[in-house]
């Protein structure tokens, strides 16, 4: 029962904040809702037994990436709002329709799968007692070490690239 309350409550928050992100008029407001959305997702992670990922979600996403967004939003002091200029070729309505259709289809697939007799009916495993941080770390540094190193190279490259972009051109 408790889990159901938590799930539906969090789902409402996540989707609600998501809607606010894409509809807010000011970009700053969007950013704030994005943070709240991420925090709600982090709570979902905790519910799903992924504490480490939840903390990383808050630390890296909410505390790092989104701060970057906020910085950029505040730095680009817009002289005319983007919504002012409208390209006639835009197919916004079609886009929303398609997105809804995709959502409906995915939902249908999941529901069918879940209802299929072969599907395992209940949550398979309860979260590991005492957390799974150690397991994540273990996997990260053994089986996925190469991927880990590649990711670090990617971050380095991104860092260098960003510095190059943002540099004053003189």
């Amino acid at each position: 029962m408790l889990e159901a309350i938590a799930f539906y409550g969090l789902a409402a928050l996540i989707l609600g904040f998501g809607v606010m992100v894409i509809t807010a008029r000011s970009a700053v407001h969007s950013v704030v809702f994005l943070v709240l959305n991420f925090l709600a997702v982090a709570v979902v992670y905790v519910v799903l037994g992924a504490e480490f990922l939840a903390v990383i979600q808050v630390l890296v996403y909410a505390g790092g990436i989104v701060v970057l967004y906020l910085f950029v939003v505040m730095l680009v002091n817009q002289k005319r709002t983007p919504e002012a200029h409208h390209d006639p070729h835009r197919k916004t309505g079609l886009g929303i329709m398609l997105a809804s259709a995709v959502l409906a289809e995915v939902t249908a697939i999941v529901v069918y799968t879940a209802s299929a007799p072969s599907a395992s009916p209940i949550p398979v495993s309860s979260p590991v007692v005492g957390g799974n941080t150690e397991q994540v770390g273990w996997l990260l540094y053994t089986d996925y070490l190469i991927a880990f190193e590649v990711a670090s190279m990617l971050l380095l490259a991104a860092m260098v690239g960003a510095i190059l972009f943002a540099r004053r051109m003189d």
């Binding site: 989707l15 998501g18 992100v21 894409i22 970009a27 950013v31 994005l34 959305n37 979902v44 799903l48 992924a50 480490f52 990922l53 990383i56 979600q57 996403y61 990436i65 989104v66 967004y69 950029v72 939003v73 730095l75 680009v76 002289k79 983007p82 919504e83 002012a84 200029h85 390209d87 835009r90 886009g95 929303i96 398609l98 997105a99 809804s100 995709v102 939902t107 999941v110 529901v111 879940a114 395992s120 209940i122 949550p123 398979v124 495993s125 979260p127 994540v136 996997l139 990260l140 996925y144 991927a147 990711a151 670090s152 990617l154 971050l155 991104a158 690239g161 510095i163 190059l164 972009f165």
Partner: protein
């Protein structure tokens, strides 16, 4: 599939909804920054999926993948926003419709 008890499939549906929301944002908005944020929403939906699968399979590999997605999202945000700033410096706008130098 019922509303109760909550299974991993519920989370999959939630993730799908979040993904669709992100996609809608990408379609809807013209401010590039908000576009980026919508992409972040979609990435989060993917992460949610991975964590749900990780729960479903009782294995933490999904979480490890989600960690990599976080890293990639960080790189994407950094480079994307860098490009965006450079773009803004040149054109003084953030309208996606004006990013059209390659139009046919």
């Amino acid at each position: 599939m019922h509303l109760y008890p909550i299974t991993a499939y519920h989370y999959l549906v939630l993730a799908a909804a979040l993904f669709a929301l992100g996609a809608t944002g990408v379609m809807l908005r013209r401010n590039i920054i908000i576009l980026f944020m919508s992409i972040e929403l979609m990435l989060n939906a993917v992460n949610l999926n991975l964590v749900a699968f990780s729960r479903l399979n009782g294995h933490v590999v999904g979480q490890v993948f989600a960690l990599f997605i976080v890293a990639v999202a960080a790189a994407e945000a950094v480079v994307g926003l860098g490009i965006l700033l450079a773009f803004y410096r040149n054109k003084e706008t953030l309208n996606i419709d004006e990013v059209n130098l390659l139009r046919g």
